[in-house]
Amino acid sequence: MKRMTIKVLLVVLAMALGAFALMGCGQDSNVIKIGFNLELTGDIPKVGEASKFAAEMLKEDINSKGGLEVGGKKYKLEFVYQDNEAKADSAVNAALKLITQDSVVAIVGPNSSKQAIPAGGVCNDNQTPMVSPWSTNPDTTKDRPWVFRAAFLDPFQGPVAANFAAKQFGAKTAAVLFDIANDYSKGLAEIFKTEWEKKAGAGTVVAFESHGTKDQDFSAQLTKIVAAKPDFIFVPDNYNQVALIIKQAHDLGYKGPFMGSDAWGSAELMTLCGKDCIGQFFSTHYAAAGAQGATKEFIDRYNTKYKYVPDDVAALTWDATRLVLQAIQEAGKVEKDIKAERKLVRDALANIKEFAGITGTMKFHGTGDPDKCAVVVQISPEGKFEFKESVCPQ
């Protein structure tokens, strides 16, 4: 009996292995496949979801117009989504699966650097163009001709926040609260610190406190910060934590202003944070409120389709995907051989010097990293992110 069950189990196992080895699907000549390597589960499911929604929207747009026109021929788009569970190893497998099994032309994502760095390595080794919408860690694209990104880097955003805060609040001292387990948050916090102390002198960052990714109680850190009496608090943190941080700071009697980073820029911020966030500032890729043209159109359509204002990840995915599509078009033709096609796309991507995205105009200088303007927005009493000023790299 027992032996029987085991035999059965073994057979099942063998079949699973077989089925798994035979996976992967045939080619269709007039379809262009683009892969998405997204954090649909794990720590930051919201990010993956937003990316996927944006991509779906773009696909429907183009396919409804009969497909993407390349060299006078229309190709249907097929987007393949792989969940990387917000894990590094899973992201590598997802990337390899997209490259080898699904044989996609290019890959969009992963978003968070923890996944994007290893996945970028794989894409570069396997000569497949990859565009990360959201990753801000320099290593993602460093020495990797096949890897690009749509977001600006921390070294640019840090100073923006510092300069603006100095000007806006007339601040002399600053406090920083960041997420030690989140490389984005930590990196930005450190850059801000060095930048601020360069401006206002050593020791002017009166408190430099951290917390863990899944923490929800920041009272201890905030007590220290409040006791240090900073002129403002810089919080380069994800919007969900921001909401809690600001609430708890107010509970502890802190009245001063906050300065945030692009990770604030989520529609959820206001539903989570409510009145506590009103009047705060943060630097981001684009201002949803008061946006014009393509940006506004995107926001409105996304809003009607998915019932919430898109956050920066959605917008950046939209841009990243369009960047890839434009490259495919500029390549002028579609090679049958997938490897040759990838080469074409990669060269086209590298040739794009300037790209007008909904998150602002991007200028590329062959590093794969865009120069783009950051905007600082203020949260209006209606909970809109209102354009305050735009800072462009000199």
Binding site: G203, V206, D217, S219, A220, T223, V226, N240
Partner: protein, 360 residues
């Protein structure tokens, strides 16, 4: 945050708590060492507050009490189930999460808002109804797990660790099931209690903080009573001594176990409500980390012992917040867990746990 001396009543309150809980004095005692460590870790800038000011100190104690209460409330659930079944119910942290979500839906249903127009009751009334309803529904979840997953395994006489793993899996299922069903967007918990911030000479207390702390203590007293004074409680303790003798004494084992799960899960439910009110952002994974930590607290206190759970919970709260208060907060986990590890090295069966003497 001006002013240094608290007003008499506040100070009185705090004095009592400090005498009750000596632990925070430990980190502050290490204060100079902390300063020594800091430049090495923190680069050039030195923390401006050379030492923790009294105001700050009391504030920290208050914070620690609040967060400790949550650990304690959840640890109680672990310890109850463990005491009876010798089972680490790793799903408990996620039952707590489910509790918070249930509370959310009940509250929204009664209160309205969040897109759905509910019955439009007053916040106070909503709270009054939400608490019991949530506790009942949550305990149902706990009992369901027990009936559908744990009990069959026990019946089959599976190794206790298989039940533990099943519990882990059940937890994962709750988390990701929630994610898959409700989507990735987090829920914002409606405000059921008009928030009041009292400030005693720079020390800020919200009414919610007080409620949480009081709740934890009340629950503790209640459970202590149930377990020591009532028939069912005696039976529970009996089972933890001898699982096989109890049924022979004519005590229905399964009933006791179910009651245990009801108690434990309803505690998780209560914790869920209070947590959702204090940190009004709900997400599927909110239970995971605090669940693990509460389990650690329960064990450090001496798992299976209710006082142990309470003490362990508050201790963990104090250690975590104490470390942040004195050292750079980047070192929080490192130091906090080292301290716990040290405690277990010194007292291998936890603070209240009794070493099992094996007779040969």
């Amino acid at each position: 945050m001006a002013g240094t001396s608290g007003s008499p009543p506040a100070l009185f309150f705090f004095k009592r708590t400090t005498t009750l809980w000596p632990s925070p004095n430990r980190p502050t005692g290490h204060c100079p060492k902390g300063r020594a460590v800091q430049p090495a870790r923190q680069g050039p800038i030195a923390q401006p507050q050379g030492k923790v000011s009294p105001v700050e100190f009391f504030q920290h104690i208050l914070n620690a009490l609040q967060f400790g209460s949550f650990y304690a409330l959840i640890a109680l659930g672990y310890t109850l189930v463990y005491g009876v079944l010798r089972l680490i119910n790793f799903a408990h942290g996620d039952i707590f999460m489910v509790g918070a979500y249930i509370a959310y839906f009940v509250a929204v249903l009664l209160l309205g808002g969040e897109g759905m127009h509910g019955l439009g009751l007053s916040p106070a009334l909503t709270l009054a109804i939400t608490v019991p309803v949530t506790m009942i529904l949550t305990s149902l979840v706990g009992v369901t797990l027990e009936r559908t997953m744990y009990r069959p395994l026990r019946r089959k006489g599976a190794d206790r660790l298989y039940v533990v793993i099943t519990a882990l899996m059940a937890g994962l299922m709750l988390e990701n099931g929630n994610l898959a069903l409700l989507g990735a967007s987090r829920k914002s918990f409606p405000e059921l209690m008009e928030k009041v911030v009292w400030t005693f000479g720079g020390v800020s207390v919200t009414n919610l903080k007080v409620v949480v702390i009081v709740a934890a203590i009340v629950v503790f007293v209640l459970l202590e009573f149930i377990v020591t004074k009532t028939k069912i409680g005696m039976a529970m303790r009996g089972i933890s001594y001898d699982k096989f003798a109890i049924p022979l004494m004519g005590i229905p084992l399964d009933t006791i176990i179910v009651v245990t799960f009801i108690l434990g899960s309803s505690m998780a439910g209560l914790a869920g409500i209070l947590y959702a009110m204090s940190y009004p952002i709900l997400e599927p994974y909110m239970g995971a980390l605090i669940g693990w930590k509460a389990f650690i607290a329960a064990v450090v206190g001496g798992i299976g012992d209710i006082r142990g759970a309470i003490v362990g919970g508050f201790l963990l709260g104090f250690i975590e917040i104490g470390v942040v208060a004195v050292f750079p907060s980047t070192l929080r986990d490192l130091f906090a867990f080292s301290v716990l590890l040290g405690i277990l090295w010194l007292k291998p069966t936890g603070l209240f746990g009794v070493a099992q003497t094996t007779k040969i």
